[in-house]
Symmetry: D2
Subunit: 339 residues, 4 copies
């Protein structure tokens, strides 16, 4: 399986994953979760929305919480370099027959709305209002002290189709997973794609979709991750820790996953690598459990089963069912290996 | 339940948990596990035994591995202050009608053998040969860089009886767990006892016993614990990690548990508190899950079920069966709490 | 030089260094320093005094700040095991012709006042009111998250005389420093003494005295130490960091030293070793610079020159002047070694 | 002072700082320094050269040590995206009348040699042989476990001229320092420039130049930095630590600086921020000491005075002499602030 086709001159310059918009039932409860536990700071807030950013972020928001009864993801946001890139993006989608529109969004510059090939609502913007970077305001650090939004992971019923939407936009594949079929063929199961020079801006894995599996913020180090767990325990939120601490094989990141009050999933992680040079993407067989866990307990069943729907995009089942090892199987395997 | 009876002037001065003697099938494999992964150093070794100590330890050994086919714990060792304490200990046990003997043990001074009230083979010694403390030999640090032996945890079919053997010897109770019975009475389920001024030198919990549940070494900090996990993953020993990382409520320690090649269980932990002043012991109801886990997945079933037998002491079932929450129940509860 | 004379049965049972009483000019400023930066918590406060404790401490106070114009140390406090030890201590000092008195002190049980051989005002107490241990209240952690008082370091004009006061009380010597004289003899320069089983409860070093050089709290790990430095920077208190981060040879501790608003010096440190067994004290020649610094810049001149006076005890110069390497000499040596 | 002129479409695509070539007197001694202490791994070695890379690097080398008697920096290397960029670079320099040549270099693809405006010997390459990323080979971690080359810092006698060479190549300014002159004007003193989306690929500061002040590798976290210091101490290399640990204001990085056996200076640092969006560069007045040190002792005099010459480029003095605070002034200021 070759995942190395690189578009050196994409139609417009997407620079990075930028911000995400979620519907939440209780703004105060969600704000408390993301500030006291995750350590984000509030850039602006009113009765309908809270705008948050990480400690190192100068852009106005990387997480927008909007009040509402249906806990969906409203938008997945990317940054482009300049206003010209917004216009070039618009032209590109028009030329492909994809409906798109340039819209006004508070605190953002020129903004483009479009849905991707499987229905994910995207938003590109060229600028945001600036706020102070707070990375050296250590007296304001709380909980995980999350630094910046890094990537999104989505479940897709058609991973290949998702890949084929983003690859021509210049997204490069750093790593991917595949199932080995009985006839010797391989099936793309997950793909890690990036624009900003590390392993991921957006990830697609096989499953009922489109759904948002999680969004991820960087932490400075493992001690902030342990502190997040400890603060969760102290706040009585220990049961919100759904997975980890553990170490991914893919990307090499140390991770924890929390569920927020509406069930949206956030990953807090640290350490990954630079992915700038042209080099072959790394492929992992699904049969290699170290792709997900170098050590530690694996994801709970619900970690695979539960995810956030996107506004206006009903998820569908994948054509093929490729089962993953469950926790029970994992525990049995662990016991067997030790015996 | 009162657990506060303090013996200020015990019959002889036991100062700390000191060393443990285990039978292992393959000396080389076990030595590699305890040095490459746990970071212990070899003080002496021959074809029948390996003597290991932690990075900060000046005493010759805190872990002795002896070659043999039956993977048991041969001895649990304590240190006393002087030779006079060995003699006073001998007199004490004689006066109680408990069989004991003064024996010769390599690298140790005056040594006393005795079995406790439920059959655990104990060994007291007043001195060992000295070796250099290596705590600042940072270029020799490996894996977890374990610093020193801290405590033992045993399963006992008669926790109250175990307590009543050690309490008159001056062991103080820092914390304990109890089951709440339907008639309003309480049943002692576990007891954390100490001589050296922190929460534990020896711990007894309810279960088929006597069995050694685990022995524990201190780490300097959480980063050494994460490194231990990562080294385990790199060495292909990730499946040996049986529990953690997590945070105990009792003692406040952050912990991981590994199984060695023979299935003996070692805890690596850091952070606990000073327990020197006279103050009430802390009691935890078994119905409070935070006693064991402030955050993170709980112990696997096998963590409760499996333990190491003692040489010459067949374990018996407890008179009463007090079930603990299993992992499955925990996961169900987590899901329920989140819903 | 032999520093190994151990008193196994001291006249009364001192268990640990316990609390210190300082005069400060501005209670609010000092409270902010010790809570926001050091992470202590307030147990009680009124217009004349603030009582603070570390995150793991259950005893009411380990640091008492009293309002006053003369920035002195009023008392250095030790804990004894029981009320009987207070009475036995009183009898002991009477028998030695040392003036002492049993006094009432808020939040404390039976309390004994006495001055040591060089005039240091001491206070022994057998109990304090209890407050909750907050070590798992991670949402309340601030700055360095100091855990507990560990030891005092004093300058003494007569180190040998200081040693001879504490040694009969059961204080054991873990390490000591000495100058090598031209005639081949050695002169005791500093002595690390302990009751609680780690390297130090009280330390005496050669210099104009008696003066309090610093008091020390434990931290959980190096990451809390770095956080303390970063919070100091963020609060505009970076210039209060007087020394470190660095690594002592003696005790093996990683350390930082801050000066409080009145110039009192606090050490925040982590990692040391267990010192329970009977073993030879470790001697360091003053000519070995690694005793103080394994790496990093050495103490500034003022770190040696400046210290806190004790109430009612004018410092005197030592009989002998034993110079220490200054920062300038150190930098010159560093450059020379590299050349 | 405006430092925000961004070249969106540079003549060829430089992607990142890539590798550096140093002359060393003793290959074995230098190899030991960079592997045992810094944690780099050897990709290839022969009697004339050693090729090293960081734990996360897949490219063959980021540091090349060549045997020789004159301890200079032979080359500062950058990576470009493709072979076409090498050719476009050649054409660009030809069009500007700058001598350049395409050369063969072991383990590298198409390589272009050129000198910058002040004589620094540069090398651009489009590819290198690949080696395994070792970031999850935790059992091979040593010392600082340096992850990857991040940036270079050079002294330049003409900072503005240096800036004007790199800015048209697409290097963006993240931060800069300036002196405030008596006539109200400002003078560019230092400039932090980047291609890869963090604060720096190459930095120029005012001083006798061109000289290499240091090259910098990333670490995973502060605990690896402390370990590096501790390993240095254990190896008897404590005196090689020239500055730190400390926290820069510029970039927000925590840092240490070591001198290698030939006096070449390496920075090991962690934490910085993402610099991808178009936003104003951050300016710092030289009169603000927090630009360099948020806390901790400042650089020693030699840190400013000593640097590595470039092969074939004699350093010259700057036209203007802009003095920096020395350590002595800093200590005096610290004392004054505290008084």
């Amino acid at each position: 399986m070759s995942m190395d086709d690189i578009v050196l001159h994409p139609p417009f310059n997407i620079t990075r994953s930028s911000h995400i918009v979620l519907t939440v039932a209780d703004l105060d409860a969600s704000k408390a979760f993301y500030t006291d536990l995750c350590g984000l700071v509030v850039s602006d807030a009113d009765s309908e929305a809270v705008y948050l950013r990480g400690m190192e972020e100068a852009a106005h928001h990387s997480l927008v919480l909007r009040k509402g009864n249906d806990p969906v993801c409203q938008r997945v946001g990317f940054r482009v370099q300049t206003d010209d890139d917004i216009r070039a993006g618009y032209d590109y989608f028009q030329s492909k027959g994809v409906e798109s529109s340039i819209v006004e969004v508070p605190f953002q510059g020129l903004t483009l709305h479009v849905r991707d090939a499987v229905g994910v609502p995207l938003e590109f913007t060229s600028s945001m209002e600036l706020r102070p970077r707070l990375m050296t305001a250590y007296d304001q650090y709380r909980g995980a002290s999350a630094q910046r939004l890094d990537h999104y992971q989505l479940q897709s019923a058609k991973v290949r189709k998702s890949y084929e939407f983003y690859q021509p936009l210049g997204f490069r594949t750093s790593e991917y997973t595949f199932s080995e079929n009985e006839d010797g063929s391989e099936h793309l199961w997950g793909v890690w794609m990036q624009r900003k020079g590390n392993p991921h801006d957006i990830v697609f894995t096989h499953g009922p979709g489109p759904r948002l599996h999680h969004f991820a913020y960087t932490l400075r180090d493992a001690s902030d991750m342990i502190r997040a767990c400890d603060v969760a325990g102290a706040l009585g939120l220990g049961q919100r820790l759904e997975r980890g601490p553990g170490r991914h094989g893919i990307s090499g990141a140390m991770f924890i996953y929390f569920r927020d009050p509406d069930g949206h999933r956030i990953e807090l992680f640290n350490t990954h690598y630079q992915h700038i040079d042209i080099e072959p993407a790394v492929g992992w067989s699904l049969s290699n459990p170290k792709r997900a866990d170098q050590w530690g307990l694996p994801a709970q069943e619900q970690w695979f089963a539960e995810a956030t729907r996107f506004a206006g995009a009903d998820p569908s089942q994948p054509d093929e069912n490729i089962p993953l090892p469950t926790l029970e199987k994992f525990l049995a395997r662990k016991a067997a290996e030790r015996a």
